[in-house]
Structures are given as C-alpha cells and as structure tokens.
C-alpha cells in the first residue's frame, strides 16, 4: 500500500516558484532517498508533506489520509525529523522526550525512555539540560524520540548531518528496523554512501523535476 502520495504538488513563495506539479509515491516498508542540489526544493517538499506549509497547488495523502483535510490524523501517523531539533534548552533529555510524547498523547514508562536513551548512547547525559548538548547529541536525542514514537510515516531532513560514524550507523539501523516494520521513510540527503545502505528507491529533484534512478546508480556515483 502507498503510504506517502503527493499529487501535482506545487509551491511558490509570493514571487518565487520552487516547483510545480511534482508527484511522489512511497510504499509501506520502503525507504526513499531524495537527492538534489541546494535550493532545488527538497526541504520544501518535505515541509509540505509534514503539513508544515500548505502546497500552492496539488494534494497529498499520508497513511491513506488527506493531508489538507485530515491534518490531525496525518500528524498522528507521521513524524518529521526536521533541521531544528525541536528541543527546549532548559529541559533535560527525559523531560524533552516526555513533553514531545505528551503532545502526541503517548505515555511511556521511565524504563522505556531510559532504554531508548541508552540505545542512542546518551543515557549518561539523560538529566543534563539539552542547552549543553552538541548538535550530534541533539540529533541522537531526536532518534530516541523517533524510536519511542514508531511512526507509520517518517520524514527526515538530512538525517546524517552532525552525526558521527556510530551515530550514522545507529540512524541506519533504526531506519532499516522501521522500514522492516512496514513504515514508509522519506529522507532528503546529500550522503550517497550512507543513504545507499538503507534506501530502496532514489530520486533526484532538480530544476523542478523529480527523476528516479536506481540504488545501483547511486552507489556507482552515476547521478548528477
């Protein structure tokens, strides 16, 4: 079944048109890596699918629900790991997770949270204010959040930036697990090596058009 379906999406910011009539489909259990030069509109597409900004034209469905009319349901099924970490500086890791989960109506035990923090290797810093976290640690914390939420659709904006080697392995392990459970994953990235390890499909967004290529081409560095 198709979990992410964008039909004829277009977005313009007043004067400037980013893209036009863009269609994308990602099936359940698939991981789709979206490449493209800076300014091609990758993040814009992601933000539309994440219900953050309204498309100027077109419609989209997430997990079978219309993204414009059934926003609340879509937001319950989807998780967006954006460029911003969505963390409150004055709260510690556990409090930040609890807050994010509470907004989604989830309650988890201390043990579950502790376990997730240990998996991303920030257990020792669990009660440190996230103000003092490095960018990589913040990223790991958002991975822990995603692990606890287990969304049906996961959107990621450049998931590998600021992560170290083991962090990237952790991210890929998580993405594989999630896709294995039947979730759809759509990410924008510039990291060919890392994304080739998990991606089932690869797309290149350039000059307003989305072109698909194979994972082999990606591995062979044959795209743009």
């Amino acid at each position: 079944m198709i979990a992410i379906r964008g039909c004829d999406l277009g977005k313009s910011y007043g004067h400037y048109r980013v893209f036009d009539r863009l269609s994308v489909e990602v099936e359940e259990g698939q991981c789709y890596a979206l490449f493209g030069p800076n300014g091609a509109g990758k993040t814009t597409l992601l933000r539309i699918l994440a219900t953050l900004s309204r498309p100027s034209t077109g419609r989209f469905e997430i997990a079978g629900h219309d993204g414009l009319t059934e926003k609340e349901t879509v937001r319950g099924a989807m998780l967006f790991l954006a460029h911003g970490s969505y963390l409150y500086d004055e709260l510690d890791a556990v409090e930040n997770l609890r807050f994010a989960l509470a907004l989604r109506g989830l309650t988890l035990t201390d043990r579950q949270i502790k376990l997730a923090l240990d998996r991303v290797a920030i257990g020792p810093f669990a009660d440190l204010k996230t103000r003092y976290y490095s960018a990589g640690m913040k990223k790991r914390l958002t991975v822990a959040k995603a692990m606890l939420i287990r969304p049906k659709v996961l959107l990621l904006d450049e998931p590998y930036t600021s992560l170290d080697e083991s962090g990237m392995r952790l991210m890929n392990q998580y993405l594989r697990d999630l896709a294995g459970e039947g979730a759809a994953v759509l990410m924008t990235t510039h990291d060919r090596v890392r994304s080739a390890e998990v991606a089932h499909r690869v797309g290149v967004l350039d000059k307003g058009r989305l072109q698909e290529c194979s994972v082999e081409e990606l591995k062979a560095h044959a795209i743009f």
């Binding site: 007043g14 400037y16 048109r17 893209f19 000059k207 307003g208």
Partner: protein
Amino acid sequence: MINAMIKWMQRYEGWVGAGGALCLLAGLYLSLVASPPDYYQGEVVRIMYIHVPLVQTAMLAYSVLFAGSLWYLWKRDPIVDNLCHAAAGISAFLTAAGLITGSIWAKPTWNTWWTWDARLVSFAVMFLILVGYLMLRTFVDDPEREARYAAVLAIVGFVDLPIVHFSVEWWRTLHQPLSISMRGVALSGEMLRPLIVMSIGFSALFVYLLMVRTQMLYLTRLLHAKKGRLLSHAHLSDLDT
C-alpha cells in the same frame, strides 16, 4: 470563483460609481442649499450631512471587513482576502475622516475638539485597530499567512468594539456628569432627506472604491505571480503554458 467575482465587479463598478456620484451631488445640493439651518446650531449643522454618513459608511466598511474575514477563514479564497484588505483601507480612511469632521463639528457646538464620549473613544479605538491591521499586513512575508493573521485580527477587533463602547460609556457617566448635551439634533423631514441621500451616496462610493481597490489588489497579486514566474528558474516557464 475569482473570475466570476472580478467580472461581476467590472460589469457593475461603473453603475455604482455613477449612481454614487449622482447621489452625492444631489445630497450636497439638498444639504448645503435646500435644507434649512438648525434652530440651535445655525449653519454649523451642515457638517452633520458629511460627518454622519462618513461614520455610518466607516462602520459599514468594518462590517464588510468582518464578514469577509470570516468568509476568508472558511473558504480561503485569495480574492476574498483582497476584498478584506480593500475594505480595511477604505474603512481606515473613512474612520479618520469621520474623526476629523466630528472634531470640527464638536468645536463650535460643544466648544471642544475632543471629549471622552463612548462613541468617540470606540471610534478612535476602531481607527487604531484598522491602522494596526494595515501595519500587520505589511510585516508578514508569506501572503497566505498575511491573509490569515489579518482575518483573525479583524474578527477579534470587531468583537472588542462593543465592549470598548460599553466600558467607555460606563466610565464617562462616572467621571463626567453630562456637561455637554450629547443629544443629537432633532431631525425634521427637511434635514432627514439630505442625510439619507448623502448616506446612500457615501455607501455607493464605498462600494465603488471597494470594487476598484479589490481589483487593483488582485491585479497586483497577479503581477507579482507573473514576475515571480519570470524570476523563477527558466525551466519553469515552459510549464506555465
């Protein structure tokens, strides 16, 4: 929808404008020449024929803005946003003109430019809200968000105005035992007629301005979109045709 509304405006704006102009001319004749001076106020009363219709029309314009804002939030039609923007600008202008003419009328009749009367204060607050509304619109980058915020502000402000009026009325009876008679002029038929004609004339003028200004804002938006298309990557231009 957009096209239907614009076409409708283009078809009728001339008639409304001409009708309004005729009404205003007739009204000016009736009020400045044909009607008698007031028993108490003398010739000064003639300001009323301008002031009262101005105030009425300003309130009509804000009501249109209020209804349009609700309509916009419901349907999200950009042309309705242009209509609201137009109505707000005209309403702000009419409110300012109403305050000024009111002040000029107040000086000879009440011997003061300004008094903290409930109508005056709520009208001044309305002016401030409208100016805030127009300022807000210039400070938002995304047109869709601009429209949304403006609509919310217009609705909240509209609901606030009766409460402002009510609170100032209470406050005034507390502090200024009525030293000035706020009783309106007792209107005879000869004075009522020009007033009604002027009111119709100003309302028609408002509707005419609303039509023209809405179209202007709509065309400006269209122009920006076109310009944007030219500025966008060259590849996108072939998608437009």
